[in-house]
């Protein structure tokens, strides 16, 4: 249903009949929760009165350009708080992807912490990708839909923090698995650190 609707939903421009559009909006609302694009009423007359004394013509480009030009630029307005920039700028982007491993099932991807892949069989290496492909899927949903090749392994917190002995025991236990295993602590993905260097 979602695929069927996607073309129309991505193009909120309709030329279908009035009653048809209303019915379609209801259908879309019930089917996939995408009705925010079509929310609206075509029949009911608004009960909100209009104040005709305040009527005006909609803004023209020339008038808006004049208003924008007359406004004080933001940095000038900020002058009381602004301070000079240094040579280095901080990273402002969403660092989630750079601090995550991307898993891909051929259609969608999900994210887990760096260091959370506990066991990766040779034939599943293509499930780990470096750039996102397909739509993002929430980890719990991704795990459910890919249970045939994807699993989790509960690890002690001490191991996640780099305890070599515990890691050896767990890795020995998981080495024979034919599934990609993600380390979890209390069912939530967690990175497993390497042992601190001495």
């Amino acid at each position: 249903m979602k695929n069927l609707l996607s073309g129309l939903l991505n193009r909120p421009h309709s030329r279908i009949g009035i009653s048809g559009l209303t019915a379609f909006a209801r259908l879309a609302a019930g089917a996939c929760g995408c009705a925010t694009l079509f929310g609206g009423s075509l029949h009911a007359q608004s009960k909100q009165p209009l104040d005709w004394a305040k009527a005006r013509d909609v803004a023209a480009n020339g008038n808006v350009r004049t208003e924008i030009a007359a406004a004080k630029p933001m940095l000038q307005q900020l002058s009381t708080m602004a301070q000079p920039l240094g040579a280095v700028r901080p990273s402002t982007g969403n660092s989630l992807y750079t601090k995550s491993i991307i898993l891909f099932d051929g259609e969608t991807h999900t994210l887990i912490p760096i260091g959370a892949v506990l066991h990766l069989p040779e034939n599943l290496r293509n499930r780990v990708i470096t750039k996102p492909q397909g739509n993002f899927t929430y980890w719990p949903n991704f795990l459910k839909r890919n249970a045939t090749w994807l699993g989790t392994k509960e690890v002690p917190l001490k191991m996640a923090r780099g305890d070599t002995k515990l890691a050896e025991d767990v890795l020995r236990e998981t080495s024979g698995s034919n599934r990609l295993l993600v380390s979890v602590y209390r069912e939530c993905p967690i990175s497993v650190l390497e042992a601190p260097r001495r």
Partner: protein, 354 residues
């Protein structure tokens, strides 16, 4: 105690984010970099960090997937626990009261129209001007713009451009009026967003951290055109079917076509043409699910003669009302025409003569 207080603040955000039902908190141990992802339940509830906070501290980032077709991941909130951190709050003011996200965290989305001003009130506190560490002296502030796809109104795969950047010290400032900077040539067609990011500089093992990220969506000014009739036209025969093209109707708006006798006079309440009214948003249409993007509509009017029953001059107008200018009616289109059926009748009589 401090940790608990901040976590409870985070819990409030979690509740807001949980409406999407696909939200999670990423806890990063700042001592060793260990990352822990905690999916949140759709029912929300108090969030308690399962891992203890280490000596240097932990960062907590609240992420959520967009709703419905939007699969973008949004950073909704960031909290640094026990590490030194300045406090930034941002209030966005707009004539449209619409808000998405949690205003308490300053990470939220407001919206406005391309021709209308908006404002920002920024408060920065907790910085130490005499400190030798840049992270303790200044907060980085950057403004970005990104145009949306003009057809789908989607932000996906659009390029983000830096507009301005500066460092900020402690203080409070109100920036108003501000205008969109997406399109300065034909500003009424601007369609996109401005992003205001406040970043704490990296220090003491804590990486660059976005403290606040507020957005302002900018939607184009509505536009109306009509086919099969033009200003000054004298209609001597049957009035043809007209096609009304409505473009970029604001997501909180009421739009309709009306007719009244006489020449155009701004502020005249005419007779609304049946079937042309479009209502969007809960203010005008409380019983329907609100839209959050502009709407385009093509409407055929095939009964205009019912609204111009006798010969004379008439004016057809398209009116829209939205949160702007106190929801005053704004005229998108006006066409004054004349109906003169007598000429037509005489013509028919003359052709009937032998």
């Amino acid at each position: 105690m401090k940790t608990r207080l901040i976590l409870l603040m985070l819990a409030g955000v979690v509740n807001a984010g949980a409406q999407t039902s696909e939200a999670w908190v990423r806890q990063t141990d700042l001592t060793n970099g260990m990352i822990y992802d905690i999916p949140l339940t759709s029912t929300g509830g108090t969030f308690q960090a399962p891992l203890p906070v280490s000596e240097i501290g932990s960062s907590f980032e609240l992420y959520a997937r967009g709703t419905a077709w939007d699969t973008t991941i949004y950073l909704l909130d960031t909290k640094l626990i026990r590490a030194y951190a300045p406090q930034v709050t941002v209030q966005v003011t707009s004539e449209d009261s619409y808000s998405r996200g949690d205003p308490a965290s300053s990470n939220y989305v407001r919206r406005t129209r391309a021709d209308r001003p908006f404002g920002l009130t920024i408060d920065v506190a907790g910085l130490v001007p005499a400190s030798g560490s840049q992270a303790e002296r200044q907060v980085y502030f950057a403004t970005y713009k990104s145009s949306y796809n003009a057809t789908t109104f989607s932000a996906l795969n659009q390029t983000q451009t830096l507009i301005s950047e500066t460092n900020l010290g402690n203080g409070t400032v109100s920036l108003t009026p501000l205008y969109q900077e997406l399109n300065l040539v034909t500003p009424t067609t601007a369609c996109g967003e401005h992003v205001y990011s406040f970043v704490r500089y990296a220090s003491d093992g804590v990486p660059d951290t976005t403290l606040v990220q507020s957005k302002v969506e900018v939607w184009p000014v509505a536009d109306a055109t009509i086919d099969n009739i033009s200003a000054g036209q004298v209609i001597t025969d049957r009035i043809p079917a007209l096609v009304l093209h409505l473009k970029n109707l604001y997501p909180d708006s009421r739009t309709f076509a009306q007719v009244y006798p006489g020449a155009a006079v701004l502020g005249t309440a005419g007779t609304m043409i049946k079937g042309t009214e479009r209502l969007y948003g809960t203010y005008y249409s409380p019983q329907t699910v609100a839209t959050n993007v502009p709407q385009n509509q093509d409407i055929t009017i095939d009964d205009l003669s019912n609204y111009a029953p006798t010969d004379g001059i008439y004016t057809l107008e398209v009116i829209t009302a939205s949160p702007f200018f106190d929801r005053a009616p704004e005229r998108l289109l006006t066409v004054t025409f004349e109906v003169d059926r007598v000429i037509s009748s005489r013509g028919q009589l003359s052709t009937a003569e032998p």
